[in-house]
């Protein structure tokens, strides 16, 4: 089953931070990476991406600089700040705990349907 899931509020922030762990990336690149790594399950609405980036930048978790992309276009590249790295660690463990808890409540997939 290949259902596409729209991201829950707040999830996008943590995914952006995670994506940037591997190095600087521009907005369109971030969206692509999230989509590919989630094996196309997670759909990033581009319209929501930029306000999120804006928000993270304002909080000081990511920093931005204009650069040139691989296919030779001008793009604004985002990098993870040390503060952002700490935030990512905290949020990741929160998410894992939440996912485990919800998983336990819902039980194994086979019992459904």
């Amino acid at each position: 089953m290949s259902t596409r899931v729209t991201l829950l509020q707040g999830t996008l922030d943590v995914l952006i931070l995670k994506t940037l762990v591997f190095g600087p990336e521009h907005g369109q690149g971030i969206a692509r990476v999230i989509q590919q790594q989630s094996e196309d399950v997670l759909l990033v609405e581009h319209g929501a991406l930029y306000p999120a980036l804006q928000r993270l930048e304002a909080k000081g978790w990511i920093a931005a600089k204009w650069g040139v992309s691989s296919n030779n276009r001008k793009a604004r590249f985002y990098t993870l700040t040390p503060k952002g790295r700490k935030q990512l660690a905290a949020e990741s463990s929160q998410w894992r705990a939440l996912a485990t808890a919800i998983g336990r409540i819902l039980g194994p997939e086979s019992t459904e349907s």
Partner: protein, 906 residues
């Protein structure tokens, strides 16, 4: 202010995203156009994105503010009548309140500009001023008495003494060709400046070494005179000045803000040590232990108990008097145990002005508070009307997607801006108002100790009031705007036919304004009538065509036996001036501010058992005096040329004297005097009609008049000193048939001929003298009338606003009525009835308050009862007339509506 990230930068990023995404989609096999379309679709509305970015930007509020302000200004320009009315209303309210408050602050609340004023204490309130004899409540002391208190009271760090009534002296810089000018000088103890903690601005302050009999006379000059007369010339320091002919060297300049120990018009120009009084004043007050002329002001030791000090000083007062009782006489000695002294805080100076003006200023403050209330009510009303009139526009804005918060904020911005603009204009009015008030309070003063600019606290007060008013008024219309339903606008909300005369808050505001206006109008009516009564009462002398010239032959060095020729010479010389009908002289003329009083003993009646029991005013006069001032002799004869130093001692008494001491007898031929041993001193030769010499609002005091040269040889030193002093009479009075143009010059020239050393202190018409007695009453009556009119005007504007608004709202209803056959007169009547309903409620509510206000003012009123139905009725009629004008205009507009028009576009 730079924003963290520019919108252009964000847009560029979005464009870069679109390009990259298009590239990717093309790689996936979409053609160019489809790739671009999908990329756009995925990103969403570009403008929406940009807007989201913009909203999230933390500086956006600044842009909003700028927009709001620009929008508000456009709104103001679009409604100039509303804006002007609102700003004027606010400015008037704030300006008047600030001006009054500045004056109250300066007169009632402000401390002296000295070090730690809260540590300063003084004796009494400066109102008793008994210069000799038993004061009862002591506030004024002789030099010896002051020194006794200073040396025996331990609770004071320092106790200063200073002249209670600084006088004018002739001052001339030595070597300067100019004539001497008259300046006010105050004699102060050597520790005066150190007690206040006031250092010299330049040079040095007067100190203890200057205050010794052997010291060379020195003086300090005030910064004001140094600046105005000598242009801050440094050579003034150390220069020698001739003061009343005595060489005095200037040792220092007092600081600009220092005006001395007492707030008053014409504060001292020069300061001299007490010890220099005999040399400069030529009177030797210093050496007379029974002549009281000094106030005291002490700085208490930290932690000292004021009550203990006060009690101790009271003991000292009795002790000092007991030590002197042998010289004071038995009547005085018997009263020593009743003598008291009260210490009062002296940090705001000797409270003469405070005592005189406090009730008047408090009344004015209450009145200006009323005006501010009316101003608030009126502005609130204006804003409400405006907010409601814009309801439809607001509804449309809401329907088009404007955020409600944004609409409230816009309304708030407008209100606050109005408040600020009104506040700034108000401060302007306050400046003008304060200087006008100051010149009214200090009538005739050539210099005033208070600056005409509102100080910082007062400015803050004004701005606070304007801002809070702005905010409060902002809430109401913004709140109603926020409740507006967008559907209303689309449905055509203004079509409703069930509207009353304005909303409930609006109607209440009109009622309150009408009530307050009535209160103010009635108060103004009472005060104006009271002032008129004061001014037009029978004074017992004639004011027109009379002039009083004040001189002091004592200062010019005249001896007692030189006086008779001098006064004769003055009379003869002045009688030659063109237009002069009579010339005479007296110790003091009516309403000149002076009053000499003493206890009399009537021959054949018991002597007064307590000081003040037989207190009467007395005066020394020249021949032809009553004729000159226009007082009639009712019986007997006036004082004549024939009453000389060696003839039988004669006296003319007034009616009050006759009534008081001879209720059932004919006073003529009876005798009286001062002190039991002298009860046969004067024989009453005539009765003069009652004339007011002081306090125009009080009944005439008993008074007697004796010929200038007749001297009684009293045995008490103090009484004898007064007797000698009283021979130097001060006021030359003149009556004119036709008043010459250059009167003052002529008089001065005449005196320069008689004796160039005889300084003319002032020349005043009786009219001016009388008017100056009413300065406070005039000020308060005028201001109250002004405020009353302002209130009336504001209330009328408010009523007009509400009526026109209701007419505008009921256009359709009126149209239907007219269409159904209502004639124009009945439409006018309907509108008037509605408006008058409000005014009538206001009147009914206002009457008890107006009566209560009259009751509060009762003590200020002269010749009129605090409850005066005629004035109340008059105020009501004026209010009704103004209301008629304010409502007839919108009513006629309503009547002239074309029914077809109103039904078509309602």
């Amino acid at each position: 202010m730079l924003r963290r990230r520019k919108l252009e930068d964000f847009s560029a990023e979005l464009r870069a995203h679109l390009a990259a995404e298009t590239d990717r989609l093309r790689e996936e096999g979409f053609d160019e156009a489809e790739a671009g379309r999908r990329a756009h679709l995925n990103l969403g509305n570009l403008m929406r994105q940009e807007e989201t970015f913009y909203e999230a930007n933390r500086w956006a509020w600044l842009d909003h503010l700028r927009q709001d302000v620009r929008y508000a200004l456009r709104q103001f320009r679009g409604a100039p009548a509303f804006t002007l009315t609102a700003v004027l209303t606010l400015a008037l309210g704030i300006g008047a309140t600030t001006a009054i408050f500045t004056l109250i602050h300066a007169v009632l609340l402000k401390s002296l500009p000295v070090v730690r004023p809260e540590q300063l204490y003084t004796a009494g309130d400066g109102r008793h001023r008994v210069y000799s004899g038993m004061a009862g409540d002591w506030d004024i002391f002789s030099v010896d008495f002051y020194k006794y208190l200073r040396d025996h009271t331990e609770g004071f760090e320092q106790l200063a003494g200073f002249q209670a009534d600084p006088r004018r002296i002739g001052v001339r810089r030595a070597g300067s060709p100019e004539a001497a000018e008259s300046y006010i000088a105050e004699y102060v103890s050597g520790n005066y400046f150190s007690t206040f903690g006031v250092p010299a601005f330049a040079g040095r302050a007067i100190d203890q070494n200057d205050d010794r009999p052997s010291a060379a006379p020195v003086a300090m000059i005030t910064y004001r005179v140094w600046q105005q007369k000598y242009a801050l010339d440094p050579s003034v320091l150390g220069a020698t000045f001739q003061m009343n002919g005595t060489a005095v060297s200037i040792v220092g300049v007092t600081p600009p803000e220092f005006f001395g120990d007492t707030l008053r018009g014409n504060p001292p120009d020069f300061w001299l040590p007490i010890a220099s009084e005999p040399a400069v004043n030529h009177a030797g007050w210093v050496n007379n232990p029974d002549l009281h002329w000094l106030f005291v002001m002490g700085r208490i030791k930290p932690g000292a108990d004021v009550r203990t000090i006060g009690a101790q000083m009271q003991v000292e007062v009795r002790q000092w008097l007991t030590d002197r009782s042998g010289l004071l006489g038995p009547t005085a000695a018997a009263q020593i145990p009743q003598q008291k002294l009260h210490l009062r805080p002296g940090g705001s100076g000797i409270g003469v002005m405070r005592a005189t003006y406090s009730s008047g200023l408090e009344l004015l403050m209450a009145i200006s508070g009323f005006v501010l209330l009316i101003v608030c009510a009126n502005l609130a009303n204006l804003m409400l009307v405006r907010g409601l009139a814009r309801r439809r526009q607001t509804s449309i804005s809401l329907a088009l997607g404007a955020a409600r918060s944004r609409i409230v904020r816009q309304a708030l911005t407008e209100s606050v801006m109005l408040g600020l603009i009104g506040g700034i204009a108000g401060v302007g009015i306050a400046f003008a108002g304060t200087s006008a008030l100051l010149s009214a309070v200090f009538t005739g003063a050539s210099s005033v100790p208070i600056g005409a600019k509102p100080d910082l606290a007062v400015l803050a007060f004004a701005f606070g009031v304007s801002l809070i008013t702005g905010l409060v008024f902002g809430v109401a219309p913004a709140w109603t705007a926020n409740r507006a339903d967008p559907m209303d606008a689309l449905r055509g909300g203004s079509r409703t036919a069930t509207e009353h005369v304005g909303s409930l808050p609006q109607r209440s505001l009109v009622v309150i304004q009408a009530a307050l206006s009535l209160v103010l109008l009635a108060a103004a009516g009472l005060l104006t009538q009271s002032l008129r009564n004061l001014e037009h009462q029978r004074f017992g002398f004639a004011a027109d065509g009379r002039v009083a010239v004040r001189i002091d032959p004592n200062l010019a060095g005249y001896k007692i036996d030189q006086l008779e020729p001098l006064y004769r010479h003055i009379r003869e010389r002045l009688a030659q001036l063109p237009g002069v009908a009579n010339v005479s002289y007296s110790l003091y003329s009516p309403m000149s501010g002076s009053d000499w009083a003493t206890d009399v003993t009537i021959d054949g009646q018991p002597p007064p058992s307590v000081d003040g029991q037989n207190l009467t005013s007395w005066n020394r006069i020249g021949p032809d005096y009553f004729e000159t001032i226009g007082t009639r002799i009712l019986r007997g004869r006036p004082i004549l040329e024939a009453d000389t130093a060696i003839t039988r001692h004669a006296a003319v008494v007034n009616e009050a004297f006759a009534r008081r001491f001879f209720p059932n007898e004919d006073p003529i031929g009876k005798h009286f005097g001062v002190g039991a041993a002298f009860s046969k001193s004067f024989e009453i030769v005539g009765i003069a009609e009652d004339a007011k010499y002081r306090q125009p609002d009080r009944p005439v005091f008993p008074m007697y008049f004796i010929p200038r040269p007749q001297v009684t040889p009293y045995d008490e030193a103090g009484t004898r000193a007064f007797e000698s002093r009283s021979l130097y009479v001060n006021d030359i009075v003149m009556r004119f048939g036709v008043r010459p143009e250059s009167l003052e010059d002529e008089i001065r020239r005449a005196f320069a001929e008689i004796d160039p050393n005889l300084t003319v202190i002032r020349i005043q018409t009786f009219d001016t003298q009388v008017q100056s007695q009413f300065s406070q009453e005039t000020l308060i009556a005028r201001l109250t009338s002004l405020f009353g009119l302002t209130a009336l005007l504001l209330a009328s504007i408010g009523l007009y606003g509400v009526t026109s608004y209701s007419v505008a709202r009921r256009t359709r209803e009126i149209g239907i009525r007219v269409a159904l056959g209502a004639d124009r007169r009945s439409v006018v009547a309907m509108v008037l009835r509605n408006a008058y309903g409000l005014v009538a409620i206001g009147l009914v509510l206002g009457i008890p308050f107006a009566v209560a206000m009259g009751r509060v003012m009762g003590s200020r009123l002269y010749g009129i009862s605090w409850y005066n139905p005629a004035i109340l009725l008059g105020a009501g009629v004026i209010l009704a007339a103004f209301a008629l004008v304010a409502t007839i205009v919108p009513a006629r507009r309503a009547a002239s509506l074309d029914p077809v028009e109103t039904l078509r576009d309602g």
